[in-house]
Each structure stands twice: as structure tokens, then as C-alpha cells.
């Protein structure tokens, strides 16, 4: 490899890294004041909170409020102008973009993993089995090579982005049985599965730990790496949405989420950072 080659490669690398991480740092917030209100997807909250904390600690004149409500609330509130950033755990619908003139900023990838109790010997499922389980066709673990026990289904609440992703990608849009228990968050889902030997449910990959057992589906291992390289397909993007082109402090905040600091917050919350398009 000659010198020119190395030079152009390193130049290319510089361009790429600059492209992936905008140079926004806490310094850019210096002397700024004002409020940024954020609402919507609950999965986003840890990232938003961490960023808000870091910014507000450096610049006390900036106020950032964060609340959840779900993807639907995020779209509505940002559309009506009640908040500056409305978060969604799904892509906006065409009708929503048209109605409100929204702009989307995908910033992280989140995978959804099927999970069971750690004591359950079942070690993997096919997608077909998964659909049959959640639609209520298979009701006992012994049909799947497990213990002689009924299956308890756990799903997320209506409007949850995690639920939408799981049903669309994991269940091929099949409708889950009405006979399932509903939990309101990844944390609650984890607790429920960990306490019920016959449970099956799903959580964001970032929430996996030893208290529950993640199952491969069709041989796809639910890990962050696989979600990122596309070999695990039950994934979704997390979006920030603004009404029109973001300005001033809101623009800075969004750029900050894409910055190196922001990527750190995203990784700490259990997601994979996505570079700005």
C-alpha cells in the first residue's frame, strides 16, 4: 500500500467518523438559555434523561423536561406544538407526517428478544412456533420440548413500540391471543417473567440479564451485534421527531444525541447508536 493510499484512507476515515458523530459538545451549549420539552416513547427516556442531565449540569440556564406517554402521545404532542421533541419507537405514518409536517431523526437501534424463565429447558423456537404460541394455538410447554406445564403469555400494552415491533417482525403481524397478561414496561415484563416459571414474553435486548432467558428465534441469536449487522431481524429504530426543521436549542440537543456523548448514553441505555443520515 503506498503512502497516497494510506492518506486517502485516513482522510476517508476522518470523513466517516465526522459524519457519524457531529462535533456538538457541551461547549456549544455555553451561554444558551431556554427550555426543551420532550415527550413520547418510554424506551427513549433513559437516553433523554442522561443527555438532559449532562447539559443542565453544565448550563443551569437550560431547562429540559422529559416525560413518556408512548409513541402516540409523542406524535400528538409534538404535532400540536406542546413539546419540542416527540419520541416514537416506530417510523411515523405518512398521514402523521402530512398532518403535522414532522421531521424524523432516528438515533438508535433496539432489538426485541423473546424471553422465558431461566429454569425452562426450552432452548430455541422457530418463528412458526412463536406465532402459534402467541396466537394461543400451542398452549403447553411439552409441545415444545419443555416441562409438562401450561404456557403463560405476557405481552406489552397497546401503543407500545416494543409490542408493535414484536408483532410486526416476530409474529408476522399475527394478532396475539386475548388470553395474555399485559405489562407496561420492560422492567415490569422482566419481573413478571422472572417470577413465573411458565412465562413467555419479550423485552428490549438492552434489558436482558441473568434473571430471564432469551431465546433464539429461527436460530437468530438476540444480541446487540446481531441487531446491528442485520442478522437478527426483530428490531426497530428509535426516533426523535420535530415539527419542521429544528431550530436553536432543539437543534443543538438533537445534534448532542448524535454526538460522542450521546452515543455513550444510548449504549448505556442498552441500545445501539445510529449515525445521523
Amino acid at each position: 500500500m503506498n503512502r497516497l493510499h494510506i492518506l486517502s484512507l485516513s482522510l476517508l476515515f476522518c470523513c466517516l467518523t465526522m459524519g457519524t458523530a457531529p462535533a456538538t459538545t457541551l461547549k456549544d451549549f455555553q451561554g444558551q438559555k431556554g427550555t426543551v420539552n420532550i415527550a413520547g416513547g418510554t424506551a427513549h427516556i433513559p437516553v433523554m434523561k442522561a443527555a438532559a442531565r449532562s447539559i443542565m449540569s453544565a448550563e443551569p440556564d437550560i431547562r429540559i423536561t422529559v416525560t413518556g406517554g408512548g409513541s402516540g402521545v409523542g406524535v400528538q404532542q409534538v404535532g400540536e406544538g406542546l413539546v419540542d421533541i416527540g419520541n416514537t419507537g416506530r417510523a411515523l405514518k405518512e398521514s402523521e407526517i402530512e398532518k403535522y409536517g414532522l421531521q424524523s431523526f432516528p438515533f438508535a437501534i433496539d432489538g426485541v428478544a423473546v424471553a422465558i424463565h431461566p429454569a425452562n429447558p426450552v432452548s430455541g423456537l422457530t418463528q412458526e412456533q412463536l406465532i402459534k404460541i402467541f396466537t394461543g394455538e400451542i398452549t403447553r410447554w411439552q409441545d415444545l420440548g419443555g416441562p409438562d406445564a401450561p404456557i403463560t403469555l405476557y405481552v406489552r400494552e397497546d401503543g407500545s413500540g416494543t409490542r408493535e415491533t414484536f408483532e410486526e417482525r416476530g409474529l408476522n403481524k399475527a394478532v396475539p391471543s386475548t388470553n395474555s397478561n399485559v405489562s407496561n414496561s420492560n422492567g415490569a415484563m422482566k419481573t413478571m417473567i422472572a417470577q413465573d416459571k411458565n412465562a413467555i414474553g419479550y423485552v428490549g435486548i438492552g434489558h436482558l440479564d441473568s434473571s430471564i432467558k432469551a431465546l433464539p428465534v429461527d436460530g437468530m441469536q438476540p444480541t446487540q451485534e446481531n441487531a446491528q449487522n442485520g442478522s437478527y431481524i426483530i428490531t426497530r429504530l428509535l426516533y426523535m421527531n420535530t415539527k419542521g426543521e429544528p431550530q436553536g436549542l432543539v437543534r443543538l440537543f438533537i445534534d448532542y444525541i448524535y454526538s460522542k456523548d450521546g452515543q455513550g448514553f444510548i449504549a448505556a441505555a442498552g441500545y445501539i447508536p445510529k449515525s445521523k443520515d
Binding site: 434523561k49 431547562r63 423536561t65 413518556g68 422492567g187 415490569a188
Partner: protein, 299 residues
């Protein structure tokens, strides 16, 4: 005389009902103490911020319930500031001045208001803001003042009904005697009836304050958010204990986060107890002042 069996059945079932209530409240207290008390400490309130810095407002609190506690206190203060005068005033009007026709009209309105679920007040506030934004103030947004305004609508009936009933309970013989002594109607109301009814009015106000502290549905639609720091102005979003509890219970990610909710619930319970104690204290003071007697609680 031998009492019939039915009397004994009736009496013991009433006793059982009372025991049931005591048992339920006791279990609730015990459960909350068991779950909440271990979390109590500076960390629950202030996270990793130094407590003095947090109390003085020098450093923001991120992991604790201090901002939510202060938010709730602010919310109660603003709401009571908005509702005390009109609420008590309306009660006095109903008891002393209103003609039967007006009594009927206003009472119907109060009953309707009392029957409205709190989420309706929240929705009202939310749509009001949407309307205001489109029509007059594009900058209007959900905030502490809006939440307090909607809450004051919610608690108005409590205040009005308590004031009215307290005034109506003043014996008419006293009023009659005062009239015969030549006192005017206003003198009778403000020098005799209202002071005699203060106990009922105060307990109504305390009930209303309790309602402000605990209501979640109204504030979640009108300005309470999961993370806002200390309340900065009437026009800013804020944190509040009941919303923090509701929110954490619904969306907790880890056991520590869930414990935070129990800690906050215990704090709310103590806040309610403190208010009941305050009401009792005012009652005692009132009796001493107006009747010059030591009330039974002190004997």
C-alpha cells in the same frame, strides 16, 4: 329485657365492618412501611446531589423525589390560593344569601362538578390549552398554573359543600337571638356564624388540599412530567409525587426504581397524615379560642 337475635347479628356485623376498615388501613400502612421505609434516606430524596445544595436549589436533583415533593407543595399552594376564596365564598352565599331558586341552580352545578371524574378535568385543561394556542396565545402550554386551575375545579365542590353544611349547622336560635339584639345580617354572618362554622370550613379545606396532593389524572394531562427539576415558575412543567408514583410503577426498569416509587408513596402518606394532624390542631385551637374550654382531645 332480652334483646332479639337480629339485634346481636346486626351489632356484630357492624363491629366486623369497623374491624375490616381498620384492618385494611393497617395492612396498607404496614405494606407501605415495609416496602417504603428501607428506601428512606438522603439518597431517596436527593440522589447523589448534596442535600443542602438541592434544598437551596443550587444543584439539580436527578435521581431523587425532592423535585416531585416540592412540585406537589407548590401545586397545593397555588391551587388553594385559587380556590379558597371562591369556594368558601360560594358556600357562604349558598347558606346565607341565596334565594331558593339560586340555591337550586348553584347546588345543581356543584353536584355536576362533584360528579365529574378527575380525568375529565384533565381533558378539559388539555383541550383548553389547545384552543388557547390556536385562538389567542400561541405560546400557551401545559404548566403548573393550568394544572392548579384544573385541580381547583376538581376540589371546589368539597370546599363549597363543607362550608355550606358547617354554616347551616349553626343553630337558628342563635341567629334569631342576635337579630333580636339588633345585629345586622352581615354582622351575624361574620361575627357569629362563620367563626362558629370555622371547624367545618377548615376540615373542608384540608380535605381539598389532600385531594390536590393525591390526584394524578388531572395533572398528568395538564403539566406534570417525569423529569423537570424544581418547579421554576407558574408557566413551567413540574414534577409531582402522585405522578412520580404512577409513572414509576408503570414504567420502572429496575428494582431500585420501583423502590423509589414505594418511598414516594410513603412520603405522600405522611403528607396526608400531617394534614389530618394539622386539621386536628386547628380544631383544638379553635375550640380554645371561641369556647374557652379544653376540648375532649386534650383531656
Amino acid at each position: 329485657m332480652k334483646r332479639p337475635l337480629i339485634f346481636h347479628v346486626f351489632r356484630s356485623s357492624m363491629g366486623l365492618s369497623a374491624a375490616l376498615v381498620l384492618g385494611c388501613v393497617g395492612t396498607l400502612f404496614f405494606f407501605l412501611l415495609l416496602k417504603g421505609l428501607p428506601t428512606w434516606g438522603t439518597e431517596l430524596f436527593f440522589g447523589d446531589t448534596a442535600p443542602m445544595d438541592a434544598i437551596m436549589g443550587k444543584a439539580p436533583v436527578w435521581e431523587g423525589i425532592w423535585p416531585a415533593f416540592m412540585g406537589t407543595l407548590c401545586l397545593m399552594t397555588v391551587t388553594m390560593g385559587l380556590v379558597l376564596l371562591p369556594g368558601i365564598g360560594c358556600g357562604i352565599f349558598l347558606a346565607e344569601y341565596a334565594t331558593p331558586l339560586w340555591k337550586k341552580r348553584v347546588n345543581t352545578a356543584i353536584d355536576l362538578l362533584a360528579g365529574a371524574p378527575s380525568i375529565v378535568m384533565g381533558l378539559f385543561g388539555f383541550t383548553l390549552i389547545l384552543f388557547l394556542r390556536r385562538a389567542f396565545f400561541p405560546e400557551a402550554n401545559t404548566c403548573l398554573f393550568l394544572a392548579a386551575g384544573c385541580l381547583s375545579l376538581l376540589v371546589t365542590p368539597v370546599l363549597v359543600v363543607n362550608t355550606r353544611e358547617a354554616l347551616e349547622a349553626v343553630p337558628s336560635s342563635i341567629k334569631l337571638a342576635a337579630t333580636s339584639l339588633g345585629l345586622s345580617k352581615n354582622q351575624i354572618i361574620f361575627c357569629l356564624a362563620v367563626p362558629m362554622a370555622v371547624r367545618g370550613i377548615v376540615s373542608g379545606s384540608i380535605l381539598a388540599m389532600g385531594r390536590c396532593a393525591e390526584d394524578t389524572a388531572v395533572i398528568m394531562l395538564t403539566g406534570a412530567v417525569a423529569n423537570a427539576g424544581l418547579p421554576s415558575s407558574l408557566w413551567a412543567k413540574f414534577e409531582a409525587l402522585p405522578f412520580t408514583i404512577y409513572y414509576t410503577m408503570a414504567h420502572y426498569q429496575s428494582q431500585e426504581e420501583l423502590n423509589l416509587a414505594f418511598g414516594a408513596a410513603l412520603l405522600l402518606l405522611f403528607l396526608a397524615t400531617a394534614m389530618v394532624a394539622l386539621a386536628k390542631l386547628l380544631e383544638v385551637g379553635h375550640k380554645l379560642f371561641w369556647q374557652g374550654e379544653r376540648p375532649s382531645v386534650l383531656q
